[in-house]
Amino acid sequence: MHNLFKIAIRNLMRYRRRTLLTASLIAIGVIFVVVFVSVSGSFKNMIISQITGSMLGDIEIHRKGYVASIDNLPLTLMMNPQQVKAAEDAIGKVPQIEAYSPRIKFGGLFSNFTETTNIRLNGVDPDMEMKTLPLLASRIVEGEKGIKKGEILVPQLLARGMNVKVGDMVVVIATNKDGSVNGKQLKVGGILESATGPGGRDGYVHIEDAIEILRMEEQEISEIAIRIHDFGKLRNVASSLEGDLSKYGNKQGKSVFEVHTWETLSPFYNIARMIDMMTLFIKIMLIAIVLISIMNVMIMAVYERIREIGTIAAIGTLPGKILSMFVIEGFSLGVLGALVGNVVGLVIVYILDLAKITFNFGMQTGLILSPTLQASDILVVSVIVIIVAVLGSLQPALKASKMEPIVALRHV
C-alpha cells in the first residue's frame, strides 16, 4: 500500500500545475462550506439560544388545547394545582432537566393614568424564571435585573410609546376567567428589550401579583417552561416527558397535557430549517465540484498514461492493483484539497471571530457574529470530499484496469 501511495503521489507531482489547480478548486469548495457552516451555524445557534434562553425555554408543558389558542392567552385552559403537581412530578423524574418555571400568561390593559393600551404579561416566580431563562436578565436594559413583587417589567416599545420610565407607577387591568375585571397599581421595575419571536414583547410581573390581578382562588398555571442541561437531547427529554404525562388522561382517555419543544412554538424554527437546507445545498455543490474536478483530472491522467498502463499490465500487474493506483491518486487529491480547504477555512473563521462583526436580527441589534466550528463539521466535510474523490476516480480507474495491455501498448 505504501508503494501504491508513493507512485500515486509522484504521478500527481508529475503534473504539478494540474494537481495544484484541482486541489485548489476542491480547497475553495471546502473553504466555502466550512465558512458557511460556521457562520450560518453560529447565527442559528445564537438566535436559538436567545429564543430559548430569554423567552421560551427549551420545552414547554401546557394543558391540551392551550397552544392552539395561545394568541388569546386563554384563562380557561390553564393547569389546575393537581395537574401542575403531576407535571412537576414528571419533571422531577428527568435528570436532564436543569430548571423549570411555571407561568401565568394573561392579557390586559396597561395604563399610565393618561393613556391606556393592551399588554401581554407573564406572571412568574423570579428565581425559577431566571434559572430557566438565563438570558432574560440581559434583556432588562433599564432597572434592576430582577422581578420584584409589586413591580412590572415593561417591554421597551411599550415603555417608549407610553412614555413610562423605571420608577413610574402604572395600572394593569385584566379580566379573569369568570369575567370579572380587576386592576392593580404596579411600579415600573425595569424596561425589557424587545425580541423577535413569541413572547418577545411580553411584560413580566411577579406570580403573586398575577394571582391577585386575576383573583385566583387557587394557583393555576398557563405553562411550565423547562431548561435542559444538554440541548442535543431536546427530543429525548420531550419524549420522556410526553411518555410520563400521557398517563394523565381526560374523560375521553386523551392526555391532559401537551409537551412542545421550542421548535413547534417559534417561527424561527422554519428559518433554522432553511439554513439547514442551504447548508445541504452548499454541500451538494461541494460534492459536484469535487466529483467533476476529480473525474476530469483522472480521466486525463488515464488517457495520458495509456502506454504506461499497457506496460505495467504486460509485466503482470493485476487489474485490481491498477485500479488501486488510480483510486489512490484521486484519494490523495481529495485529502490534499480537504486538508488545505480546512486549514484555510479555519483561519478565515478565526479571523471572522476576531473581527467581531455585528448584525441585526429583527428587533435585536448589535448581535456579535462569533462563528465556531465543531470537530464534527470538519470531519463531515473531509469525509464527504474524500469519499467523493474516491468515487470520482473510480470510473477512470476502472477504465484503466480493464484496458487490454496489447491495445494500451499500441496507443500513440
Binding site: 508503494n3 507512485i7 509522484r10 504521478n11 507531482m13 508529475r14 502506454r307 504506461e308 499497457g310 506496460t311 505495467i312 499490465a313 504486460a314 509485466i315 503482470g316 500487474t317 493485476l318 487489474p319 492493483k321 487490454e404 495491455p405 496489447i406 501498448l409
Partner: protein
C-alpha cells in the same frame, strides 16, 4: 518438450467488416535457453506472434503452449499472473515508468507483481543493475539517462523476476547501431548468465546475425528457420 510449442497458430483481426489474417498457421518449437529472433518486414506478423507468445493476445486457431501451459485458454487475470511469473518484456520504446528511479523501475515487478520481501528485492535489483552496468545510475529517473541506458534498465527489469522467457519486440529500433549491438550482446550475456530464453523481433539486418535461431516471417507466414552458421532450411 520445448519451452514454446506452436502448432499451426493463426490470428485474425476484424477491421470493420473485413477479416484480416495476420498470422497464417505458424508452427515452431523453441527450446529453453535459446536466443531466437523473428525477422521480417513491417506487417509480416512479428509483433502479432510475440504478443501471442507473451499472452497479451490469444490465437484465433491452432495450439500454443508456453512453459507447458495452453495459454489460449487463459482469462485476463490468469494471463496477467502467468506473465508476471514466467515472462519478461523489453519494449521498443523502453517503456520505463517515468516517476520511478532506475532502481524502482527494476524493482517494480518484484514489488507489484511478485510481492517479494524488501531484502530479496534489494539483493535481486542490485545484482541485475550490476549485471547490466547501471549501478551508478540507480537513483536517476528515466529522463536523466540515455536511450541505451534505458534499454539496459528494461533488460534488468525483464529479468528481475527470474522469468523463463524474455520477449523483446524491436528492442533496438530506437537505438543507434553501436548501442543496438551492445544491447543485443547484453541480452545474449544475460541468457548465458541466467539461462533465460530470449526471443526478439527485428527488421534490422545488421543485428539479425546475432540471433542463434532465426525465424523469417513474410505476410503472416513463417517462411524460414535458420540456425546460426547454417543455410536457410525453410
Amino acid at each position: 518438450m520445448g519451452l514454446i510449442v506452436a502448432e499451426n497458430i493463426t490470428k485474425d483481426y476484424q477491421i470493420g467488416e473485413v477479416t484480416v489474417r495476420a498470422l497464417k498457421g505458424a508452427s515452431f518449437n523453441i527450446e529453453p535457453g535459446s536466443f531466437v529472433s523473428f525477422v521480417g518486414p513491417s506487417g509480416s506478423g512479428k509483433t502479432t506472434l510475440l504478443n501471442l507468445i507473451g499472452c497479451l493476445d490469444k490465437p484465433s486457431g491452432g495450439r500454443l503452449l508456453v512453459a507447458g501451459m495452453d495459454v489460449s485458454s487463459f482469462g485476463k487475470k490468469d494471463s496477467a499472473v502467468f506473465r508476471g511469473k514466467n515472462i519478461g518484456f523489453i519494449f521498443q520504446d523502453f517503456n520505463l515508468i517515468p516517476v520511478l528511479t532506475v532502481f524502482e523501475n527494476v524493482e517494480y515487478p518484484l514489488l507489484m507483481v511478485q510481492n517479494a520481501s524488501p531484502g530479496d528485492r534489494k539483493k535481486r535489483v542490485m545484482s541485475l543493475l550490476g549485471a547490466v552496468g547501471m549501478t551508478e545510475q540507480k537513483d536517476k529517473y528515466p529522463d536523466q539517462i540515455s536511450g541505451g541506458q534505458k534499454q539496459r534498465v528494461a533488460v534488468a527489469r525483464a529479468l528481475v523476476t527470474n522469468p523463463k522467457l524474455v520477449l523483446a519486440d524491436e528492442p533496438t529500433a530506437n537505438l543507434d547501431h553501436k548501442t543496438a549491438y551492445m544491447v543485443i550482446e547484453l541480452m545474449k550475456k544475460m541468457r548465458d548468465d541466467f539461462q533465460t530464453t530470449f526471443i526478439f523481433s527485428t527488421h534490422d539486418q545488421k543485428i539479425v546475425g546475432e540471433a542463434e535461431i532465426l525465424y523469417t516471417l513474410e505476410d503472416g507466414e513463417l517462411v524460414g528457420k535458420q540456425m546460426k552458421g547454417e543455410e536457410d532450411n525453410a
